[in-house]
Symmetry: C2
Subunit: 361 residues, 2 copies
């Protein structure tokens, strides 16, 4: 097992990564303060891992809430149904919520924990690669709105992240690749050495080599912890974690939630960000190609879906959270491993980037 | 104009109290950071004060959201409609929300500000006595659930509280008295001298004497600021601000939101808390009578509504946020001006208190 830590003063918490951690009673124990626990999961994960977790939680009074699986259910209505479950028991203020599942379960459960009685404790138990390397760490919780991805939510840190790598064995290939998109992101934004490692080890990762996966998860969490620890509420540098996300969110909201997986949209978005950086004369042609090639080798899309017109795309980008003072703030690249925030680019460059992405090379 | 401050480190903010502050451009200006403002109000307040505020906000791009008036609309659905308005514009992350109205508007708008894009800035512009002395200060935001008052919400501090005392001129008598309930609360929990002042000046307050009202608002805000400054997230002493509220919330949820005003329910709840404190041998008979007499002189109810049975009452109290480890934590009184938290009382004393309150003296 590997242990890391997110350093946020009084809100610091550990990240545990390793096989069979869902059975590790001693890891959960220090983070459950009251007598009651609500496990929130979905109808895909529940048959696979819920019993295992409930057995681990035996000494506590456990309740479960099983949601339908999928990004299209990441709504105010579903979030509200978790609150109904908490109130229905009724669960006291010292109840601990455990989010058992992927990014949707983690985001929506974290947001429910943030709002129930103005905040109860919660533990992230991520079961997808994407959740283990990204969404379970850092306290960003949210639901979607028809017009905006993750537009309603809270910064609310978990008390622990317990990532059982064995759960990746049941993850389908498409979900695994979607997770790899966020892994690649860390290399791109701040860790050139990791990017180079990924170029070497992509076949091992997509081939589910357990050592390679564990290393990639740990290194990703390490990168994320450092960025979050320095800027919890995204007042500055944390925004680099959104590389590819403003383009990606526009894709997700345009095609309908769940059509494209989040990681797939981010993958295409990162290629667009790289292309725009190249167009601005900041990223070399060679680096831009390396990025597109690695994303392609991960089996991820490198272009937005066909049929999206530029106006719709720009409009969807403008609803994103990265807009300030009327400008869409983009995360761009100076080089592989060196991301920065840019809200002072010529509009024509963004338009050309969109046009090029639609029309292909 | 009077100016106070809530001291919370980086989240500190000013409270301004005085006549015609809705027209005081220079008070709003430093707390509006972006170009966009959304004013949230209701259909009672809008015809009276919205134009005045919008004129003050002239340099900014203003939008308005007018909600139906009343506690029964303090729901997830109404909150969600504010978010729809923000997204519909669309409002950027540097938008400032202004809550123009009473406690319901302040609580629900504050919760919308807390959740839109994971938190935007907001200003409280309270227009009722209750909101000016209590709910606009301290960052408690929430909506109700059928089963629990304020059970869904967030701790989220405003960037300023701007209380225009002129708005009290249009407040009806019942609402004014409901506000006085929270004013009396401060005397009871931590300010004996203020309680004695209230005994002297109750006729002036219910008679809407402007100096008396301004003094009562300022002294209430001062008391509240000190308590909140010492314990923002109610980990300890802040809970004394809930004197009468656990009983009161049970009344509100039992009779249906809006039937009793919040302040009325709290008034009856404070008499019940005093009676229980007396029964536990902590509060003298004389003090208990003084409390009931002052609340009666304010024209407020001193008994819960008839027809509420003890079991329902206890059940509703048990859903309240003050439950920990299975015990209902109550705020009780050692003396006038000296509240404390008690979760170690004989159940029979609580039951006797409920029975006595129902049956009368």
């Amino acid at each position: 097992m590997r242990a890391l830590s997110v350093e946020l003063g009084a809100r610091s918490y550990p990240i545990y990564i390793g096989p069979d951690l869902l059975s590790a009673h001693e890891l959960f124990k220090p983070h459950i303060c009251g007598r009651q626990v609500l496990v929130v999961t979905n109808d895909t994960v529940a048959p696979l891992y819920l019993d295992r977790l409930l057995a681990t939680l035996q000494p506590w009074q456990t309740h479960t809430k099983i949601l339908p699986d999928g990004e299209s259910f990441k709504t105010i209505e579903t979030w509200s149904s978790i609150l109904d479950a908490l109130i229905g028991v009724p669960c006291a203020r010292d109840t601990t919520l455990i989010a058992l599942g992927g990014g949707v379960i983690g985001d929506i459960s974290g947001f429910a924990a943030a709002c129930y009685q103005r905040g109860i404790g919660y533990i992230q138990a991520p079961t997808t690669l994407l959740a283990q390397v990204d969404s379970s760490v850092g306290g960003k919780t949210a639901v979607n709105h028809v017009l905006g991805k993750n537009i309603i939510g809270a910064f609310y840190q978990p008390s622990a992240v317990i990532a059982d790598t064995r759960t990746l064995e049941t993850l389908d290939d498409r979900e695994l690749r979607a997770g790899i998109a966020e892994v690649i992101k860390y290399g791109l934004i701040c860790d050139y050495e990791f990017f180079a490692w990924l170029e070497e080890n992509m076949p091992a990762l997509v081939g589910r080599d357990s050592d390679a996966l564990t290393y990639a998860i740990e290194r990703s969490c390490q990168n994320k912890s450092e960025v979050v620890g320095a800027d919890e509420r995204e007042l500055g540098r944390r925004a680099i974690l959104n590389l590819g996300h403003t383009f990606g969110h526009a894709i997700e909201t345009s095609v309908g939630y769940g059509e494209w997986l989040h990681g797939e949209a981010v993958a295409a978005g990162m290629v667009m960000a790289a292309a725009m950086s190249q167009r601005l004369g900041e990223l070399t042609d060679a680096d831009c190609e390396r990025i597109e090639r690695l994303i392609g080798r991960a089996g991820l899309p490198t272009r937005p879906p066909v049929g999206l017109d530029d106006d719709t795309f720009l409009q969807r980008m403008a609803v994103d959270k990265k807009v300030r003072g009327g400008r869409i703030r983009l995360v761009l690249l100076r080089a592989i491993g060196d991301a920065y925030i840019n809200d002072d680019y010529p509009d024509t460059v963004l338009e050309q980037t969109l046009r090029q992405a639609r029309s292909g090379p």
